[in-house]
């Protein structure tokens, strides 16, 4: 049997292949992104696509399931908030072909705005949830989930976490199951959720719940491991691994399916034990069911173990005072290394201008959220996908009612605009807002590692696609005449447009265009250099927060030629013309036109 080290996300993709999935959809989001990036490796047998957002992706997967095809949809935890509407309907409708929903939760918030526990969604929507402990189980669970989904006529949620998604462990590879041949057959009573139909479907959902609870008691991946003491541990997901590290003698109940909770299995396990530890990340879900199932047992859960952040064997041991966690070195005494916009990032000039003009910026989710960090410090609020535009309008209207105004703009990326920004802009136009929306169009979903989007011109499967032009969409589609386009490297033009449009008593959109530097860096571009005779140490260039710029021992600006992409933004902000292009002959003359900067010194 071939064994390979796979990440949890790669294992889910392999499981999709082996389980006979033929339709896969997703919206990228850490830590889930690599699932579809790996599913597409099987594009000969699986159709794979990026949806505009998680809601469209889930509905498309549901449609595929209607035909009898086996379908999956993947997203990060907060993506399921966006897809919650079809999730609840899908539960009532059931699954003709399997419908598998992968939610990658992010305990510890490595790359997220909250650490919600998406098992709550499975409970609220009344569908089963599976939690793998490693990559092998992630792959096995795809196959089990497909079987459960089709046997019980239900969507199945697989809850990954950052640690299971981004850990590698060995996986045995097997052959692909032959998928069913899709054919459309109408099923009006199930799939048209008119109230009369939905009432009958709710009865079916409750009956399904009882059957799934009985199934969970016997589910082969819910396993008991005998211990050598009267201490037991109940755990799901990666927490099981931490438990095995800390309690080598204990009995273990590994809950591959924490919901519906296997009451009888748990009671059988608990009967022989005096003390039961419950290990789970985020909320006390298993714990709550366990306490209800065995009220007389000594159960230790979130009263001792942390509710916040990721678990680890250290966290478990620290909670029980089993290990001295005092660090030998205090890391708070050394400088942090926060992420930053890249050298040559086409978003930098915008944030530099917003900071200078003291504009309140309503931020959104993407690389450009890094514009919030010093020295750019140009993002006042950031809420969720698309909220830059809607929060902007709410603030504008509430202040207007009191006769007040502030200088503010929304800042949103191209992918986020397609995801859920368009509807907010419709609200501004319809409700006669006067605010300015800045759309940073780098033609790719950059933060999560450069996924194609409706503005890219290609699909996930590498096919050429119609490219949706944001300027045309806003100006011609939504009819907003004050729609302007500007080059992301043109500092002065951005400055003037912002000044003018913020004051305008009508809605406007500024599309700041320039492809992501990581994809389109031109090797032939010359890096920038500093003429230290001319540099006055004024440090204006340092306010760009460009990782290529720092100061030398004499406090003069210095540019790292390896990191520098030659975007020329620093040269434009230098009032003393101390910054210019360098090549093998040294510094260029500084009588350079803007056109030369915008073309990397080679116009």
């Amino acid at each position: 049997m071939a064994k390979e080290l796979l990440s949890g996300n790669e294992a889910i993709a392999r499981g999709a292949y082996e389980a006979g999935i033929t339709f896969a959809s997703a919206y990228p989001g850490t830590p889930s992104t690599e699932i579809l990036e790996n599913v597409v490796k099987y594009k000969d047998v699986i159709y794979a696509q990026w949806g505009a957002n998680e809601k469209t992706a889930m509905e498309e997967a549901l449609g595929a399931s209607f035909t009898g095809a086996r379908a999956m949809v993947a997203m990060k935890h907060v993506g399921l908030n966006v897809a919650a509407d079809p999730l609840f309907s899908a539960s009532y409708i059931g699954a003709t072909g399997a419908l598998i929903i992968i939610s990658a939760d992010d305990p510890g918030m490595h790359s997220s705005q909250n650490e919600q526990d998406n098992r709550h969604y499975a409970m609220a929507a009344k569908i089963p949830v599976l939690e793998p402990v490693d990559s092998q189980e992630a792959k096995d669970m795809m196959i089990e989930a497909v079987a459960i989904s089709e046997a019980y006529d239900t969507p199945v949620l697989i809850r990954m976490t950052t640690r299971t998604s981004h850990s590698r462990s060995a996986v045995e590879l097997r052959e692909r199951q032959t998928p069913p041949v899709p054919e459309y057959q109408s099923d009006f009573l199930k799939r048209n959720l008119l109230p009369g139909n939905a009432r009958r479907r709710h009865v079916a959902v409750e009956e399904r719940q009882k059957k799934l609870a009985a199934f969970s008691d016997d589910f082969k991946l819910n396993t008991i491991r005998k211990g050598k003491s009267r201490v037991g541990v109940v755990a799901s997901g990666i927490s099981y691994q931490y438990g095995r590290e800390v309690f080598p003698e204990a009995a273990f109940l590994k809950l591959a399916m924490p919901y519906p909770f296997p009451v009888n299995l748990f009671r059988r396990f608990a009967a022989e034990l005096d003390t039961i530890y419950i290990l789970e990340e985020n909320d006390p879900i298993i714990e709550t069911f366990a306490r209800l199932a065995a009220p007389d047992k000594k159960i230790i859960g979130k009263d001792v173990f942390p509710l916040l952040g990721e678990l680890s064997q250290d966290a478990v041991q620290a909670s029980l005072a089993l290990k001295d966690m005092t660090p030998r070195f205090d890391c708070n005494t050394i400088p942090r290394r926060p992420p930053s916009l890249c050298a040559g990032c086409p978003h930098t000039a915008l944030f530099y201008n917003l900071n200078l003009q003291k504009v309140y910026s309503r931020g959104d989710i993407g690389c450009y959220t890094l514009g919030a960090l010093p020295p750019l410090s140009a993002m006042d609020t950031c809420v969720d996908m698309g909220a830059s535009i809607t929060v902007l309008l709410g603030i504008e209207k509430a202040l207007a009612k009191a006769g007040k105004t502030i200088k503010q703009v929304a800042v949103i990326g191209d992918s986020t605009f397609f995801h859920s920004g368009i509807t907010g802009l419709v609200d501004i136009i319809y409700n006669q807002g006067q605010s300015t929306v800045v759309i940073l169009d780098n033609s790719i979903t950059a933060m999560t590692g450069h996924q194609e989007n409706p503005g890219s011109g290609t699909t996930l499967m590498g096919e050429e696609a119609r490219r949706i032009d944001i300027v045309k969409l806003v100006r011609d589609g939504l009819g907003l005449e004050h729609t302007y386009e500007v080059d992301g490297y043109d500092v002065k033009a951005i400055k003037e447009l912002l000044k003018r449009e913020i004051l305008r008593l009508e809605p406007s959109v500024i599309v700041v265009r320039r492809p992501c530097i990581l994809l389109y860096r031109k090797a032939k571009w010359s890096p920038m250099g500093v003429d230290s005779q001319k540099c006055t140490s004024c440090k204006v260039c340092l306010r760009l927060g460009c990782p290529a710029i720092s100061t030398d021992a004499y406090d003069k600006a210095v540019i790292n030629a390896t990191l520098c992409s030659g975007c020329g933004v620093c040269a434009q902000v230098c009032a003393f013309k101390a910054i210019t292009f360098v090549d093998e002959k040294g510094l260029h003359s500084n009588n350079i036109t803007l056109e030369t900067y915008l073309s990397g010194g080679r116009s």
Binding site: K3, L5, T30, P31, T33, E34, H110, S111, D134, T162, R163, H166, S167, R168, S169, A170, I238, Q241, Y242, R244, E245, S312, Q313, D314, Q317, K323, M325, P327, R328, F329, C331, I334, P335, R336, R337, P338, P339, S340, L341, C342, C367, L370, P374, P375, M447, T448, G449, K539, L542, R543, G545, P547, I549, S550, T551, T562
Partner: protein
């Protein structure tokens, strides 16, 4: 065999995940159970990156415990210090002799610590400094510093040298094969 841990740290873009992939594949070929963890996302934009590898007869957690790791392979000196609490008291710190000021330092808000070498020597069982970035530049590509560091790690581990070479040949793109084999040898032969 008791589970052992190795931690690789540095700055996003230095080839840390490639290095930990190479290491994991070698350990798997050597017959161990292997688990590796890494963090993606925000940290790739110039932030600090950590990848951990654990191996043994039976491995549970992919994360090392504090004060447990046998080796730390640090691609940057400040990052070596940031992760020192994971090193066991007898643990070995293999450090690229290379300073990359983080943005708060570059923009003049904070100072890069001046006494990192001394601090590391105080806290680690042994410290080996290797100018991997300079050596890689001399080989013709700064990016090969990660394989130089892997070579140094290999020289300290009890694993057949041929396994490392096999994995490198299999994993790196053909046009970088020669460069990476040279980089491995440079690190393997390094004496401080």
């Amino acid at each position: 065999m008791k589970t052992k841990s190795i931690l690789i740290c540095g700055v996003g873009g230095q080839g840390i995940l490639t290095a930990s992939d190479l290491l994991s594949d070698v350990l798997l070929l050597a017959g161990f159970e292997v688990k590796k963890s890494e963090v993606h996302g925000m940290s790739q934009r110039g932030g600090d990156v950590i990848s951990t590898v654990r191996y043994g007869d039976e491995v549970f957690s992919p994360l090392p415990s504090l004060k447990e790791t046998e080796f730390i392979l640090a691609f940057e000196k400040l990052e070596a210090l940031r992760n020192i609490n994971y090193l066991s008291e007898k643990g070995i710190m293999l450090v690229n002799d290379f300073e990359w000021p983080p943005l708060p330092v570059a923009s003049g808000l904070e100072k890069y610590p001046q006494d990192i070498d001394a601090e590391l020597k105080k806290l680690a069982g042994e410290v080996v400094l290797i100018p991997a970035t300079r050596l890689a530049t001399e080989l013709g590509n700064e990016k090969a510093s990660n394989v130089i560091l892997i070579g140094l790690l290999a020289s300290r581990m009890d694993i057949d040298r041929q396994l490392w070479l096999d994995v490198i040949v299999r994993k790196v793109p053909p046009r970088f094969k020669e460069l990476n084999l040279k980089a491995f040898e440079t690190g393997f032969a390094f004496r401080s």
